[in-house]
Symmetry: C2
Subunit: 104 residues, 2 copies
DNA sequence: TTGACATATATAGAAATATCGATATAATAG
DNA sequence: CTATTATATCGATATTTCTATATATGTCAA
C-alpha cells in the first residue's frame, strides 16, 4: 500500500466522487444491473459504462481512472462476460484510514 | 476543509515527509532552535531554513510547499522576528483522519 | 541608514498528469 | 463468421504540477 498513490488517486474530484458513489451503488446507479441476475450485480460492483455515464467523462478517461484507483488499492474489479464490475476494496480503505489516523 | 486540497498536499513525497518529520521535531531537526529561547522554539515549530536543509529542495520550493500545506489546513505558522516557524495543526489533522474514516 | 540574513513571491521551463478520439481486444448475439 | 457492445489501450494535445532562478520584502544588528 503506497500512501502517495492513494493520495494521488483521491486528489481528483471525479475520482473521489466515484469512490463515494460506490459506497451506495443502489442510490447512485439506480438503473444498473440490467445485464445480470440480481444476486450478482451489486455484490460484484458497478460496471464501467454506468460509472462513465454518471461521471460525465469519456470512456477512456473513466477506464484510466478506475485502473489507477485499483492499482492504488482503493477498488477491486470482477469481470462477468463482457462487463467489468468495480467495487470498493473496503478492507484496504479502512486499513488506510487506520494508517492515516495513527501514522500521519 | 477541502479534502481535495489535503489529498493534493499529501500526494508529494517531500510534503508528506515534512508532515511526518514535524510529528517529532526534536528527533528530525536536532540542531534547530538556535535562534530562540528554548521554551519558545519547539512549541512554535520548526523554521523554514531547517526544514529546507532536511528536505533538500530549494528555499523557494520549501516555502511554496509549506504555504500550500498551511492553506490546506495541515500546518500552522508563527512568526518570531525574521523566522517563520511551522508546526502541525493537530486538530485539523485528526479531524481529517476522522472524516476519512467515516466519510470515505 | 546600511548591510546581512530569512522568508516570500514572481516567473518560467521541464516534467507529470489529464483527457480526448481512435483503435484494439474481448465477449456475445445472430 | 460477422456484427454489436463493453472495456482497455494508444497517441496526441491540453493542463497542471514541480522546482529552480531571480527578485522583493521584512527583520535585525551595527
Amino acid at each position: 500500500m503506497e500512501p502517495i498513490d492513494i493520495f494521488k488517486a483521491l486528489s481528483n474530484e471525479t475520482r473521489l466522487n466515484i469512490l463515494l458513489w460506490l459506497k451506495d451503488p443502489e442510490k447512485h446507479f439506480p438503473k444498473q444491473g440490467a445485464h445480470l441476475p440480481k444476486e450478482v450485480s451489486y455484490k460484484g460492483g458497478v460496471c464501467v459504462g454506468d460509472i462513465q455515464e454518471k461521471a460525465k467523462v469519456s470512456q477512456s478517461t473513466v477506464s484510466h481512472y478506475l485502473n489507477m484507483m485499483q492499482k492504488a488499492g482503493l477498488l477491486e474489479s470482477v469481470r462477468y462476460g463482457q462487463w467489468t464490475y468495480y467495487r470498493r476494496n473496503e478492507e484496504a480503505i479502512s486499513q488506510f484510514a487506520e494508517y492515516f489516523k495513527t501514522e500521519i
